[in-house]
Protein backbone atom coordinates (compact mmCIF):
# COMPACT_ATOMS: atom_id res chain seq x y z
CA UNK A 1 0.00 0.00 0.00
CA UNK A 2 2.63 2.50 1.15
CA UNK A 3 5.02 2.23 -1.83
CA UNK A 4 2.09 2.26 -4.31
CA UNK A 5 0.73 5.49 -2.88
CA UNK A 6 4.18 7.04 -3.00
CA UNK A 7 4.56 5.89 -6.60
CA UNK A 8 1.29 7.45 -7.68
CA UNK A 9 2.00 10.67 -5.81
CA UNK A 10 5.31 10.80 -7.61
CA UNK A 11 3.46 10.24 -10.87
CA UNK A 12 1.15 13.17 -10.14
CA UNK A 13 4.14 15.33 -9.29
CA UNK A 14 5.75 14.46 -12.61
CA UNK A 15 2.51 14.80 -14.51
CA UNK A 16 1.80 18.25 -13.10
CA UNK A 17 3.95 21.16 -14.18
CA UNK A 18 5.50 22.13 -10.86
CA UNK A 19 8.63 20.00 -11.22
CA UNK A 20 9.45 21.50 -14.61
CA UNK A 21 9.19 25.18 -13.70
CA UNK A 22 12.41 27.05 -14.46
CA UNK A 23 13.58 30.37 -13.04
CA UNK A 24 13.27 31.87 -16.50
CA UNK A 25 9.56 31.07 -16.46
CA UNK A 26 9.33 32.72 -13.06
CA UNK A 27 10.87 35.89 -14.47
CA UNK A 28 8.33 35.91 -17.29
CA UNK A 29 5.46 35.50 -14.80
CA UNK A 30 6.78 38.44 -12.84
CA UNK A 31 6.80 40.47 -16.03
CA UNK A 32 3.23 39.31 -16.76
CA UNK A 33 2.19 40.37 -13.21
CA UNK A 34 3.79 43.77 -13.81
CA UNK A 35 1.79 44.09 -17.05
CA UNK A 36 -1.41 43.09 -15.21
CA UNK A 37 -0.70 45.82 -12.70
CA UNK A 38 0.00 48.42 -15.39
CA UNK A 39 -3.11 47.43 -17.35
CA UNK A 40 -5.55 47.18 -14.43
CA UNK A 41 -4.31 49.72 -11.89
CA UNK A 42 -2.67 52.22 -14.23
CA UNK A 43 -4.99 51.75 -17.26
CA UNK A 44 -1.88 51.53 -19.43
CA UNK A 45 -3.19 50.35 -22.88
CA UNK A 46 -5.38 47.75 -21.08
CA UNK A 47 -7.16 46.52 -24.22
CA UNK A 48 -3.91 45.05 -25.43
CA UNK A 49 -1.74 44.72 -22.38
CA UNK A 50 -4.23 42.58 -20.47
CA UNK A 51 -4.53 39.80 -23.09
CA UNK A 52 -0.80 40.12 -23.86
CA UNK A 53 0.09 39.59 -20.20
CA UNK A 54 -2.22 36.59 -19.91
CA UNK A 55 -0.87 35.02 -23.10
CA UNK A 56 2.62 35.58 -21.78
CA UNK A 57 1.84 33.96 -18.45
CA UNK A 58 0.25 30.79 -19.84
CA UNK A 59 2.80 30.43 -22.65
CA UNK A 60 5.48 30.23 -19.97
CA UNK A 61 3.97 27.25 -18.17
CA UNK A 62 5.52 23.82 -18.73
CA UNK A 63 3.88 20.90 -20.60
CA UNK A 64 0.86 22.93 -21.79
CA UNK A 65 1.55 22.44 -25.47
CA UNK A 66 -0.19 25.79 -26.06
CA UNK A 67 2.50 26.91 -28.48
CA UNK A 68 3.29 23.48 -29.92
CA UNK A 69 3.47 23.87 -33.70
CA UNK A 70 0.48 22.34 -35.44
CA UNK A 71 -1.32 21.42 -32.22
CA UNK A 72 -1.31 24.18 -29.63
CA UNK A 73 -4.28 26.49 -29.23
CA UNK A 74 -2.22 29.68 -29.00
CA UNK A 75 0.05 28.48 -31.78
CA UNK A 76 -3.02 28.27 -34.02
CA UNK A 77 -4.19 31.74 -33.02
CA UNK A 78 -0.72 33.03 -33.80
CA UNK A 79 -0.17 31.04 -37.00
CA UNK A 80 -3.55 31.67 -38.60
CA UNK A 81 -4.15 35.11 -37.11
CA UNK A 82 -0.83 36.91 -37.14
CA UNK A 83 1.64 34.86 -39.15
CA UNK A 84 -0.87 34.53 -41.98
CA UNK A 85 -1.40 38.31 -41.90
CA UNK A 86 -5.09 38.21 -41.06
CA UNK A 87 -5.44 40.13 -37.82
CA UNK A 88 -3.38 43.33 -38.39
CA UNK A 89 -5.23 44.11 -41.65
CA UNK A 90 -8.58 43.51 -39.89
CA UNK A 91 -7.55 45.96 -37.17
CA UNK A 92 -6.83 48.43 -39.95
CA UNK A 93 -10.31 47.86 -41.37
CA UNK A 94 -11.68 49.04 -38.03
CA UNK A 95 -9.21 51.92 -37.81
CA UNK A 96 -10.26 53.02 -41.30
CA UNK A 97 -13.89 53.08 -40.17
CA UNK A 98 -12.87 55.21 -37.18
CA UNK A 99 -10.65 57.65 -39.08
CA UNK A 100 -11.77 61.04 -40.33
CA UNK A 101 -9.39 62.18 -43.05
CA UNK A 102 -11.08 65.61 -42.98
CA UNK A 103 -8.39 67.43 -40.95
CA UNK A 104 -5.70 66.11 -43.29
CA UNK A 105 -7.58 67.01 -46.48
CA UNK A 106 -8.36 70.44 -45.08
CA UNK A 107 -4.63 71.34 -44.84
CA UNK A 108 -2.91 69.04 -47.34
CA UNK A 109 0.52 70.61 -46.79
CA UNK A 110 0.56 69.14 -43.28
CA UNK A 111 0.83 65.69 -44.90
CA UNK A 112 4.56 66.40 -45.22
CA UNK A 113 4.83 66.39 -41.42
CA UNK A 114 3.46 62.86 -41.35
CA UNK A 115 6.11 61.90 -43.88
CA UNK A 116 8.81 63.73 -41.89
CA UNK A 117 8.21 61.58 -38.87
CA UNK A 118 9.25 58.50 -40.86
CA UNK A 119 12.81 59.84 -40.84
CA UNK A 120 13.29 58.31 -37.38
CA UNK A 121 12.11 54.95 -38.69
CA UNK A 122 14.62 54.94 -41.54
CA UNK A 123 17.51 56.42 -39.54
CA UNK A 124 17.07 53.73 -36.90
CA UNK A 125 16.93 51.10 -39.62
CA UNK A 126 20.23 52.36 -41.04
CA UNK A 127 21.78 52.79 -37.58
CA UNK A 128 20.81 49.30 -36.44
CA UNK A 129 22.12 47.79 -39.70
CA UNK A 130 25.44 49.57 -39.18
CA UNK A 131 25.59 48.11 -35.67
CA UNK A 132 25.52 44.65 -37.25
CA UNK A 133 21.84 43.79 -36.83
CA UNK A 134 20.54 41.96 -39.90
CA UNK A 135 18.28 43.91 -42.29
CA UNK A 136 15.07 42.13 -41.31
CA UNK A 137 15.60 42.79 -37.62
CA UNK A 138 16.75 46.36 -38.25
CA UNK A 139 13.56 47.12 -40.20
CA UNK A 140 11.40 45.56 -37.50
CA UNK A 141 13.10 47.67 -34.82
CA UNK A 142 12.99 50.85 -36.90
CA UNK A 143 9.24 50.64 -37.47
CA UNK A 144 8.73 51.03 -33.70
CA UNK A 145 9.51 54.72 -34.36
CA UNK A 146 6.15 55.03 -36.09
CA UNK A 147 4.50 54.06 -32.78
CA UNK A 148 1.93 52.03 -34.66
CA UNK A 149 1.12 48.69 -33.01
CA UNK A 150 -0.63 46.71 -35.76
CA UNK A 151 1.88 47.82 -38.42
CA UNK A 152 4.79 46.84 -36.18
CA UNK A 153 3.24 43.42 -35.56
CA UNK A 154 2.53 42.96 -39.26
CA UNK A 155 6.12 43.72 -40.21
CA UNK A 156 7.65 41.67 -37.39
CA UNK A 157 5.59 38.59 -38.34
CA UNK A 158 6.84 38.93 -41.90
CA UNK A 159 10.50 39.74 -41.29
CA UNK A 160 11.58 38.77 -37.77
CA UNK A 161 8.95 36.65 -35.97
CA UNK A 162 11.30 35.93 -33.05
CA UNK A 163 11.22 39.66 -32.19
CA UNK A 164 7.46 39.99 -32.50
CA UNK A 165 6.52 40.02 -28.82
CA UNK A 166 9.35 42.39 -27.95
CA UNK A 167 8.70 44.96 -30.67
CA UNK A 168 4.96 44.80 -30.10
CA UNK A 169 5.38 45.54 -26.40
CA UNK A 170 7.91 48.27 -27.23
CA UNK A 171 5.58 49.89 -29.77
CA UNK A 172 2.56 49.80 -27.45
CA UNK A 173 4.66 51.05 -24.53
CA UNK A 174 5.93 54.02 -26.44
CA UNK A 175 2.40 54.72 -27.66
CA UNK A 176 1.23 54.81 -24.07
CA UNK A 177 4.25 56.90 -23.05
CA UNK A 178 3.73 59.51 -25.78
CA UNK A 179 2.65 62.13 -23.17
CA UNK A 180 5.93 61.57 -21.28
CA UNK A 181 8.43 61.09 -24.12
CA UNK A 182 7.34 63.76 -26.57
CA UNK A 183 6.89 67.02 -24.59
CA UNK A 184 10.54 67.44 -23.49
CA UNK A 185 11.70 66.92 -27.09
CA UNK A 186 9.06 69.34 -28.34
CA UNK A 187 10.04 72.06 -25.84
CA UNK A 188 13.71 71.59 -26.59
CA UNK A 189 13.25 71.92 -30.34
CA UNK A 190 10.93 74.95 -30.42
CA UNK A 191 10.98 78.49 -29.06
CA UNK A 192 8.16 79.95 -26.99
CA UNK A 193 7.23 82.20 -29.93
CA UNK A 194 7.04 79.24 -32.29
CA UNK A 195 4.78 77.37 -29.89
CA UNK A 196 2.46 80.39 -29.86
CA UNK A 197 1.95 80.37 -33.63
CA UNK A 198 -1.74 80.09 -34.37
CA UNK A 199 -2.84 78.15 -37.40
CA UNK A 200 -5.01 79.66 -40.14
CA UNK A 201 -8.28 77.72 -40.42
CA UNK A 202 -8.12 75.17 -43.22
CA UNK A 203 -10.44 75.00 -46.19
CA UNK A 204 -13.76 73.25 -45.91
CA UNK A 205 -13.68 69.62 -47.02
CA UNK A 206 -16.59 68.48 -49.17
CA UNK A 207 -18.19 65.10 -48.42
CA UNK A 208 -17.47 64.00 -52.01
CA UNK A 209 -13.73 64.48 -51.38
CA UNK A 210 -13.98 62.27 -48.33
CA UNK A 211 -15.63 59.55 -50.43
CA UNK A 212 -13.13 59.85 -53.27
CA UNK A 213 -10.11 59.88 -50.95
CA UNK A 214 -10.13 56.23 -49.80
CA UNK A 215 -10.74 55.07 -53.36
CA UNK A 216 -8.01 57.27 -54.85
CA UNK A 217 -5.57 56.58 -52.02
CA UNK A 218 -6.33 52.86 -52.30
CA UNK A 219 -5.34 53.01 -55.95
CA UNK A 220 -2.39 55.36 -55.85
CA UNK A 221 -0.67 54.40 -52.58
CA UNK A 222 -0.95 50.69 -53.32
CA UNK A 223 0.43 51.23 -56.82
CA UNK A 224 3.25 53.21 -55.24
CA UNK A 225 4.14 50.56 -52.63
CA UNK A 226 2.36 47.31 -53.54
CA UNK A 227 3.71 45.52 -50.45
CA UNK A 228 1.69 47.87 -48.23
CA UNK A 229 -1.51 46.50 -49.82
CA UNK A 230 -2.79 44.19 -47.04
CA UNK A 231 -2.89 47.01 -44.49
CA UNK A 232 -3.59 49.90 -46.86
CA UNK A 233 -6.43 48.14 -48.69
CA UNK A 234 -8.26 47.29 -45.50
CA UNK A 235 -7.66 50.75 -44.03
CA UNK A 236 -9.17 52.43 -47.08
CA UNK A 237 -12.08 49.96 -47.30
CA UNK A 238 -12.96 50.71 -43.67
CA UNK A 239 -12.79 54.42 -44.43
CA UNK A 240 -15.02 54.02 -47.48
CA UNK A 241 -17.57 52.21 -45.26
CA UNK A 242 -17.48 55.29 -43.05
CA UNK A 243 -17.61 58.07 -45.61
CA UNK A 244 -20.02 56.50 -48.12
CA UNK A 245 -22.66 56.55 -45.35
CA UNK A 246 -24.59 53.75 -47.07
CA UNK A 247 -23.27 50.77 -45.10
CA UNK A 248 -23.64 51.89 -41.49
CA UNK A 249 -23.90 48.24 -40.38
CA UNK A 250 -20.60 47.28 -41.99
CA UNK A 251 -18.96 50.38 -40.59
CA UNK A 252 -20.26 49.63 -37.10
CA UNK A 253 -19.22 45.96 -37.30
CA UNK A 254 -15.71 46.88 -38.51
CA UNK A 255 -15.03 49.43 -35.82
CA UNK A 256 -16.76 47.67 -32.93
CA UNK A 257 -17.43 43.93 -32.92
CA UNK A 258 -14.85 42.81 -35.46
CA UNK A 259 -12.11 45.02 -34.08
CA UNK A 260 -12.81 43.91 -30.52
CA UNK A 261 -12.82 40.24 -31.50
CA UNK A 262 -9.54 40.38 -33.37
CA UNK A 263 -7.99 42.48 -30.60
CA UNK A 264 -8.52 39.56 -28.23
CA UNK A 265 -6.73 37.15 -30.56
CA UNK A 266 -4.01 39.70 -31.32
CA UNK A 267 -3.22 40.34 -27.67
CA UNK A 268 -3.12 36.75 -26.50
CA UNK A 269 -1.08 35.61 -29.54
CA UNK A 270 1.46 38.39 -29.15
CA UNK A 271 1.80 37.50 -25.47
CA UNK A 272 2.21 33.83 -26.33
CA UNK A 273 5.22 34.58 -28.54
CA UNK A 274 7.02 35.97 -25.49
CA UNK A 275 8.56 32.76 -24.27
CA UNK A 276 11.47 32.99 -21.85
CA UNK A 277 13.96 31.87 -24.48
CA UNK A 278 12.76 34.56 -26.91
CA UNK A 279 12.50 37.35 -24.41
CA UNK A 280 15.23 36.94 -21.80
CA UNK A 281 18.06 38.06 -24.03
CA UNK A 282 20.33 41.10 -23.97
CA UNK A 283 18.96 41.90 -27.42
CA UNK A 284 15.61 42.84 -25.92
CA UNK A 285 17.06 45.79 -24.02
CA UNK A 286 18.80 46.81 -27.23
CA UNK A 287 15.48 46.65 -29.11
CA UNK A 288 13.72 48.80 -26.50
CA UNK A 289 16.56 51.31 -26.54
CA UNK A 290 16.69 51.57 -30.34
CA UNK A 291 12.90 51.73 -30.50
CA UNK A 292 12.93 54.67 -28.12
CA UNK A 293 15.62 56.34 -30.22
CA UNK A 294 13.51 55.77 -33.35
CA UNK A 295 10.47 57.29 -31.70
CA UNK A 296 12.37 60.31 -30.36
CA UNK A 297 14.04 61.00 -33.71
CA UNK A 298 10.67 60.70 -35.44
CA UNK A 299 9.23 63.31 -33.09
CA UNK A 300 12.18 65.64 -33.67
CA UNK A 301 12.31 65.16 -37.42
CA UNK A 302 8.63 66.06 -37.80
CA UNK A 303 9.34 69.32 -35.96
CA UNK A 304 12.39 70.04 -38.13
CA UNK A 305 10.37 69.50 -41.31
CA UNK A 306 7.75 71.96 -40.05
CA UNK A 307 10.47 74.53 -39.39
CA UNK A 308 11.92 73.98 -42.86
CA UNK A 309 8.49 74.47 -44.41
CA UNK A 310 8.19 77.75 -42.51
CA UNK A 311 11.30 79.04 -44.30
CA UNK A 312 9.40 78.97 -47.57
CA UNK A 313 5.82 79.50 -46.49
CA UNK A 314 3.95 82.74 -45.83
CA UNK A 315 1.40 81.10 -43.52
CA UNK A 316 3.59 79.81 -40.72
CA UNK A 317 3.02 76.33 -39.35
CA UNK A 318 3.26 75.81 -35.61
CA UNK A 319 6.26 73.45 -35.54
CA UNK A 320 4.75 71.49 -32.65
CA UNK A 321 2.44 69.96 -35.26
CA UNK A 322 5.45 68.05 -36.58
CA UNK A 323 5.50 65.95 -33.43
CA UNK A 324 2.03 64.66 -34.35
CA UNK A 325 3.52 62.98 -37.41
CA UNK A 326 4.05 59.76 -35.44
CA UNK A 327 1.05 57.54 -35.82
CA UNK A 328 -0.08 57.28 -32.21
CA UNK A 329 -3.63 58.50 -32.95
CA UNK A 330 -4.93 60.64 -31.33
CA UNK A 331 -2.44 60.65 -28.44
CA UNK A 332 0.26 62.57 -30.28
CA UNK A 333 -2.27 65.17 -31.45
CA UNK A 334 -3.48 65.67 -27.89
CA UNK A 335 0.08 66.13 -26.68
CA UNK A 336 0.66 68.79 -29.36
CA UNK A 337 -2.47 70.57 -28.20
CA UNK A 338 -1.40 70.51 -24.57
CA UNK A 339 2.15 71.73 -25.19
CA UNK A 340 0.77 74.48 -27.44
CA UNK A 341 -1.77 75.52 -24.81
CA UNK A 342 1.01 75.85 -22.20
CA UNK A 343 2.50 78.63 -24.29
CA UNK A 344 -0.84 80.24 -25.21
CA UNK A 345 -4.00 78.93 -23.62
CA UNK A 346 -6.07 80.27 -26.51
CA UNK A 347 -4.16 78.25 -29.08
CA UNK A 348 -6.25 75.20 -30.05
CA UNK A 349 -3.97 72.98 -32.09
CA UNK A 350 -5.83 69.71 -31.58
CA UNK A 351 -7.70 69.42 -34.85
CA UNK A 352 -4.79 70.81 -36.87
CA UNK A 353 -2.56 68.16 -35.30
CA UNK A 354 -4.96 65.44 -36.42
CA UNK A 355 -3.88 66.09 -40.03
CA UNK A 356 -0.21 65.12 -39.63
CA UNK A 357 -1.25 62.46 -37.11
CA UNK A 358 -3.36 60.61 -39.67
CA UNK A 359 -0.81 61.28 -42.40
CA UNK A 360 1.69 59.65 -40.01
CA UNK A 361 -0.36 56.43 -40.03
CA UNK A 362 -0.25 56.39 -43.83
CA UNK A 363 3.48 57.18 -43.68
CA UNK A 364 4.20 54.29 -41.34
CA UNK A 365 2.14 51.94 -43.53
CA UNK A 366 4.17 53.00 -46.55
CA UNK A 367 7.44 52.63 -44.61
CA UNK A 368 6.39 49.08 -43.66
CA UNK A 369 5.65 48.33 -47.32
CA UNK A 370 9.06 49.67 -48.32
CA UNK A 371 10.75 47.48 -45.70
CA UNK A 372 8.88 44.39 -46.85
CA UNK A 373 10.05 45.10 -50.40
CA UNK A 374 13.65 45.81 -49.34
CA UNK A 375 14.20 43.04 -46.82
CA UNK A 376 12.10 40.10 -47.94
Amino acid sequence: MGPDLLQSLKGVAEFSGFASVTWQMGVMWMLAFLFFYLAIAKKFEPLLLLPIAFGMMVANLPHTGLMEPGLGLLWRFYEYGIKSEVIPPLIFLGLGALTDFGPMLSQPRLIFLGAGAQVGVFLTFIGASLMGVNLQEAATIGIIGGADGPTTIFLAAKLAPHLLGTVAVAAYSYMALVPLIQPPIMRLMTTEDERKIRMKPGRKVHQLEKIIFPIAAGLILILLVPASAPLMAMFMLGNLFRESKVVERLKAASQNELMNIVTIFLGISVGATMSAENFLQPKVIFVFFLGLAAFSVSTASGIIIAKCMNLFSKDKINPLLGAAGVSAVPMAARVVHKVGAEADKRNYLLMYAMGPNIAGVLGTLIAAGVFVTLCK
Binding site: P201, P330, R334, H337, A341, R346, Y348, L350, M351, M354
Partner: protein, 71 residues
Amino acid sequence: MEKLLAPMAGNIWKIECKEGDSVNVDDVLIIMEAMKMEAEVYSPATGVIAKITVKEGQDVEEGQALLEIDS
Protein backbone atom coordinates in the same frame (compact mmCIF):
# COMPACT_ATOMS: atom_id res chain seq x y z
CA MET B 1 -21.46 93.03 -28.26
CA GLU B 2 -18.69 90.46 -28.38
CA LYS B 3 -19.20 87.04 -29.92
CA LEU B 4 -17.42 83.94 -28.64
CA LEU B 5 -16.58 81.66 -31.56
CA ALA B 6 -15.76 77.96 -31.35
CA PRO B 7 -11.95 77.72 -31.44
CA MET B 8 -12.07 74.26 -32.99
CA ALA B 9 -14.51 71.67 -34.29
CA GLY B 10 -15.88 69.48 -31.53
CA ASN B 11 -18.69 68.82 -29.13
CA ILE B 12 -20.07 71.18 -26.49
CA TRP B 13 -19.46 69.16 -23.37
CA LYS B 14 -20.35 71.60 -20.60
CA ILE B 15 -21.64 75.16 -20.52
CA GLU B 16 -20.22 76.80 -17.42
CA CYS B 17 -22.31 80.00 -17.53
CA LYS B 18 -25.91 81.11 -18.08
CA GLU B 19 -27.55 84.06 -19.73
CA GLY B 20 -27.37 87.11 -17.46
CA ASP B 21 -24.11 86.03 -15.74
CA SER B 22 -21.40 88.65 -15.30
CA VAL B 23 -18.10 87.31 -16.57
CA ASN B 24 -14.50 88.47 -16.73
CA VAL B 25 -11.96 88.13 -19.49
CA ASP B 26 -10.35 84.65 -19.38
CA ASP B 27 -13.14 83.03 -17.33
CA VAL B 28 -13.90 79.51 -18.53
CA LEU B 29 -17.32 79.75 -20.16
CA ILE B 30 -17.59 76.50 -22.08
CA ILE B 31 -15.77 73.17 -22.07
CA MET B 32 -15.54 71.53 -25.45
CA GLU B 33 -14.64 67.95 -26.20
CA ALA B 34 -12.86 66.61 -29.27
CA MET B 35 -10.78 63.47 -29.77
CA LYS B 36 -11.73 62.46 -26.21
CA MET B 37 -9.96 65.53 -24.88
CA GLU B 38 -11.49 68.42 -23.00
CA ALA B 39 -10.60 71.96 -24.01
CA GLU B 40 -11.66 75.03 -22.07
CA VAL B 41 -13.02 78.00 -23.97
CA TYR B 42 -12.27 81.34 -22.32
CA SER B 43 -14.25 84.55 -22.24
CA PRO B 44 -12.99 87.08 -24.79
CA ALA B 45 -14.32 90.05 -22.79
CA THR B 46 -15.64 91.33 -19.47
CA GLY B 47 -19.40 91.82 -19.49
CA VAL B 48 -22.74 90.07 -19.21
CA ILE B 49 -23.74 86.94 -21.12
CA ALA B 50 -26.50 88.15 -23.44
CA LYS B 51 -27.29 84.98 -25.30
CA ILE B 52 -26.05 81.39 -25.46
CA THR B 53 -26.56 79.96 -28.93
CA VAL B 54 -25.49 76.34 -28.37
CA LYS B 55 -26.66 73.47 -26.17
CA GLU B 56 -24.66 70.88 -24.25
CA GLY B 57 -24.04 67.82 -26.41
CA GLN B 58 -24.20 69.78 -29.66
CA ASP B 59 -21.51 69.39 -32.34
CA VAL B 60 -20.04 72.66 -33.59
CA GLU B 61 -17.78 73.72 -36.42
CA GLU B 62 -14.69 75.84 -35.98
CA GLY B 63 -15.72 79.53 -35.99
CA GLN B 64 -19.38 78.86 -35.13
CA ALA B 65 -20.83 81.40 -32.65
CA LEU B 66 -21.22 79.92 -29.16
CA LEU B 67 -22.51 82.90 -27.19
CA GLU B 68 -22.72 86.68 -27.10
CA ILE B 69 -21.42 89.00 -24.38
CA ASP B 70 -22.61 92.55 -23.73
CA SER B 71 -19.38 94.30 -22.93
